[in-house]
């Protein structure tokens, strides 16, 4: 038996009012992170013991800079979706929950932008 109104069923947004968007984006970013994190591990291994000049010139390669920015964006997008669920599960006070979510999401954005800025600065010859 389906107790939803026809309009609600067509919209498919459910009680959380956002439908399956969170679920989908978490999966999409997860799939993006499969090749990106393997690349990152390869990159870190290839840079073991490298000095500042070596790592800088490595990051000045367009491919490495673009992949590093993509890694940052996918990582922080995936991260804030995951931590959102953790906060929603464990923090029950409505005010504390909203404050925690804002700090976590804001912090993720700050780190993503700071990391991207650093990559661009190095890539453009900072």
């Amino acid at each position: 038996m389906d107790l939803r109104a026809p309009l609600g069923r067509v919209r498919g947004l459910g009680s959380a009012k956002s439908g399956t968007h969170h679920f989908w984006v978490q999966r999409v970013t997860a799939i993006a992170l499969i090749p990106l994190s393997l690349w990152f591990i390869y990159a870190v291994l290839s840079l073991v013991g490298a000095d500042h000049a070596t790592v800088s010139s490595w990051l000045q390669s367009p491919i490495n800079a673009v992949l590093m920015i993509l890694l940052l964006l996918a990582t922080f997008h995936h991260l804030q979706l995951g931590l959102q669920v953790v906060i929603e599960d464990y923090i029950h006070g409505e005010g504390t929950k909203i404050a925690s979510l804002m700090i976590m999401k804001g912090g993720s954005l700050v780190l993503a932008v700071a990391g991207t800025f650093a990559v661009l600065k190095v890539a453009f010859g900072g």
Partner: protein
């Protein structure tokens, strides 16, 4: 309506620990740990952008005993979350739900994460010329 003495659903403590349950919690724990690890990643990038002095400071911190232990933990957390995340993606398309497969894929994920961590560190030390 009296809400006070309604029966509550059983909480976590009442269940006997199971392999699949421990791995599920571990997925969340490693994800949270990796989130903390992004602080180091961004610090490393910012230091690289700031110049050689800052970069050397980060490299010294990472290269210290505590730094290497943290990095080792993060390597395993990354591989575990990576492998178990792929296990989750199979579940998302409806595959591997029967009990034997779910348990065996769990064993495989743990073994793979340990193996990949070991392999990564062996390659890393070989790249340094330490072994």
């Amino acid at each position: 309506m009296n809400n006070g003495d309604r029966p509550l659903s059983p909480h976590l403590q009442i269940y006997a620990w199971q392999w699949t349950m421990a791995l599920s919690i571990l997925h969340r724990a490693t994800g949270t740990g990796l989130a903390a690890g992004t602080l180091l990643m961004v610090w490393w990038l910012l230091a690289l952008a700031d110049g050689a002095a800052s970069f050397d400071t980060v490299q010294t911190v990472i290269g210290s005993v505590v730094g290497r232990l943290c990095l080792f933990g993060w390597t395993w957390a990354l591989f575990y979350h990576f492998c178990n995340g792929i296990r989750h993606l199979f579940w998302d398309v409806g595959m591997g739900f029967d009990l034997d497969t779910a348990r065996n894929s769990g064993y495989f994920v743990v073994a793979a994460s340990i193996g990949l961590t070991g392999l990564t560190w062996i390659v890393g030390y070989m790249a340094m010329g330490a072994i």
